[in-house]
């Protein structure tokens, strides 16, 4: 017994020494990356694995493209941008670990954030470490509500989207509105804000309905809508139900506009509803590069760089985010957190693709970047 104990003490001792040695090595490695004076380390937090990997990779491509362009033009403050990519897999726990990793690597700033659920905890980690973060896609209204002064959101928020839809109805003289959601947190949130916006605009919400996301038959719901005789209907859920609803909306001959939120912003909704039924469908959505005037060059460059791949829904925003960071670094003329935060806060009229970036008190967009898209001949076109 005694011998065994002695040996185990020796073994543990050796393990301790070994681990110390290893950790010394690795910390030297990362500080070595940081200390090289001709690079600025930028953290990127995106879901590059998991269900949302497609969008995450599209965003990463756009960020890489922006960084490369900046570096080719001489970099920022005489240094090159170096991207450090971490995966959050749209999972809060993974995101926290990834954020801590970026903090330990002493990144100058972070660009990223796709899922609101994982961006929320990550933004807390960055705020505690006083590292500025530019959120490119996540848009829950809970993000700015945290009141972090290191957090900047360049995507429109749910209330902005609701307002965009309500304003469109108002412009077209549509007063009596029906709102339908599918009981998911996102759709319910958007529906509630839409109701508020419609009423603020002097309209009336004559129906506020909930459906099950798996529902296929909206026959009796459409009969009800028809009897309400609405000027506009706004569905805030996802495309699978949205497409079927639109088709049955047209079959029943319900009056007024049919509008969907960005959860239904997918070519699939046109295919499900059929091109005939989809004609005239309105969508409130953030800018997809394909439809933004002046983004042709971006789309062309993106396609030539990434095997003729179309830029995904948040690529333009990610591209803008990286460029905004470079711009702010230049204006701050320093890489210190305080200077950078101040420069970001003072951003005035930064012209990105499809949006002008200026921040309000909550560090979210002063002017929403939501647009209304319209389906014409089976294609999405920019309506407003």
């Amino acid at each position: 017994m005694f011998h065994l104990k002695k040996y185990s003490i020796i073994a543990i001792g050796m393990l301790l020494i070994l681990s110390l040695f290893l950790s010394a090595c690795s910390s030297e490695g990362s500080s070595g990356g940081k200390s090289s004076s001709d690079e600025i380390l930028v953290g990127v937090l995106l879901p590059v694995t998991g269900n949302n990997a497609t969008d995450g990779k599209d965003m990463l491509n756009a960020m890489k493209m922006a960084a490369e362009k900046i570096n080719n033009n001489g970099g920022v403050l005489g240094k090159k941008l170096k991207l450090e990519v971490t995966d959050d897999a749209c999972d809060p726990q993974t995101a926290t670990t990834a954020a801590n990793k970026l903090v330990s690597m002493k990144v100058t700033a972070v660009v990223g954030g796709y899922c609101s659920g994982s961006t929320l905890p990550a933004s807390g980690v960055f705020n505690n470490a006083n590292i500025p973060m530019i959120v490119a896609a996540a848009n829950s209204s809970e993000l700015p509500a945290q009141g972090y002064e290191s957090l900047f959101l360049i995507n429109g928020l749910v209330p902005d989207q609701a307002k965009t839809g309500a304003d469109y109805f108002k412009d077209k003289g549509a007063k009596n509105i029906v709102i339908i959601h599918d009981n998911s947190a996102y759709a319910k949130n958007l529906a509630d804000f839409a109701q508020k916006s419609v009423e603020e605009n002097g309209g009336k919400v004559i129906g506020f309905e909930a459906i099950n996301p798996e529902e296929k038959d909206f026959g009796s719901l459409m009969t009800k809508l028809k009897s309400l005789n609405p000027d506009g209907t706004y569905f805030t859920g996802y495309y699978a139900a949205g497409g079927l609803m639109l088709k049955q909306f047209k079959e029943k001959g319900v009056s007024g506009f049919f509008m969907v939120g960005d959860g239904s912003y997918s070519p699939d909704i046109i295919e499900i509803a059929g091109a005939d039924s989809a004609d005239g469908l309105l969508v409130t959505a953030t800018p997809t590069a394909n439809f933004i005037p002046g983004a042709d060059e971006f789309v062309k460059e993106y396609k030539s760089k990434y095997n003729n791949l179309s830029p995904g829904p948040f690529s333009a925003l990610s591209y803008n985010g990286m460029n905004l960071l470079a711009d702010a670094l230049k204006r701050a003329n320093s890489t210190s957190s305080e200077d950078l935060k101040k420069a970001l806060k003072e951003t005035k009229g930064f012209q990105g693709i499809g949006q002008v970036i200026e921040f309000n008190d909550q560090n979210s967009l002063n002017q929403s970047n939501f647009h209304v898209m319209k389906v014409v001949n089976g294609e999405f076109t920019l309506e407003k």
Binding site: I180, N183, E209, A210, I211, N212, E214, E215, K216, D217, F218, G219, S220, L221, T223, K224, S227, A240, G243, L244, K247, K250, E251, K252, G253, D268, E271, I272, A273, G274, D276, S277
Partner: protein
């Protein structure tokens, strides 16, 4: 008035699907006292196999498929899914026919999950859009709107149900089914091939579900691998509502459930639809477990 008529028609369409699927439930229960929870997934298989055939034959365009082509695909799919149903019975249920009812019920759930995730691997997890679409035009009757597609769906399911009723009442196989439902061991003593008749029951039940699956695919336009789950539960509810084991009861139960749901959606809102359906199931199980048409002891089928 117009609105009530319109809701009745909306409900009738949903009810027609429920009835067709409920028939398979009720037949299997009637003959071997098994709640075949995999039945909704045979409906899903029907939708997907029909989808595959139509995609192959029509080259995804779909507009130029004649009525004949669609008919062939329809019948072909019903036969294939019928065979799958027989296969399921042979592999998963027959070895357990003499085991406690609980074992075979759990196997049914296993079969259901296997079918769902096999088709997820085969066809993918995302929504598929059916290659043929029905025209939107229809008739105006008494201020209500009814499309030709709706009329077609209701007629087709009525035709299938009528055919089944005749088969059970008039043929020797139908007679054998009714006899097995009464007393299985006496039947085998009388020289009836019990296994063969049970297999035949599964074939008919599965092919009716497959027919409903294709009809739903064509009518609604989208299918996905989980589509069988909720309709399976609804069909089960319909079967209980009508008196489980009773064929006419299943047809009636499906229609009643569809119409109740349509009224529920209209007056209470869409999210109450399932609450209403399963609330009714609970009420019936508590207060009248034999269903609308079921008596305490009666000849099933």
């Amino acid at each position: 008035m117009e609105i009530i008529l319109q809701i009745l028609i909306d409900g009738l369409v949903i009810g027609a699907f429920y009835s067709l699927v409920a028939l398979g439930y009720t037949m299997v229960y009637g003959i071997i006292k098994l709640l075949n929870f995999a039945h909704g997934d045979l409906y899903m298989m029907g939708a997907f196999i029909g989808f595959t055939f139509l995609s192959i034959f029509t080259g995804d365009g779909g507009v130029n498929t004649g009525l004949l082509g669609v008919g062939i695909v329809f019948i072909g799919t019903m036969v294939i899914v019928g065979l799958i149903g027989m296969g399921v019975e042979r592999i998963a249920y027959r070895p357990l026919l003499l085991a406690p009812r609980l074992s075979i019920l759990i196997t049914a759930i296993g079969v259901s999950l296997s079918l769902e995730y096999t088709s997820m691997i085969g066809w993918g997890a995302s929504y598929k859009v059916y290659p043929i679409k029905l025209p939107n035009d229809g008739l105006q009757i008494l201020g209500t709107q009814i499309s030709f597609a709706q009329i077609g769906m209701i007629l087709l399911s009525a035709l299938l149900m009528l055919g089944l009723r005749l088969f059970i009442d008039k043929t020797i196989y139908g007679k054998a089914m009714r006899a097995i439902a009464l007393d299985q061991s006496a039947c085998s003593l009388m020289g009836v091939n019990v296994h063969k008749i049970i297999a035949l029951t599964f074939f008919i039940g599965a092919s009716l579900a497959a027919g409903a699956g294709i009809m739903s695919g064509v009518y609604y336009g989208t299918i996905n691998f989980m589509m069988g789950f909720i309709i399976g539960l609804k069909a089960f509810t319909a079967a209980v509502l009508g008196g489980i084991g009773n064929i006419t009861g299943a047809m009636l139960g499906g229609l009643v459930l569809g119409i109740l749901e349509a009224f529920g959606t209209f007056y209470l809102g869409g999210s109450w639809k399932d609450v209403l359906a399963f609330g009714i199931l609970i009420l019936f199980l508590v207060f009248k477990p034999t269903g609308i048409l079921g008596a305490k002891e009666m000849e099933r089928m």
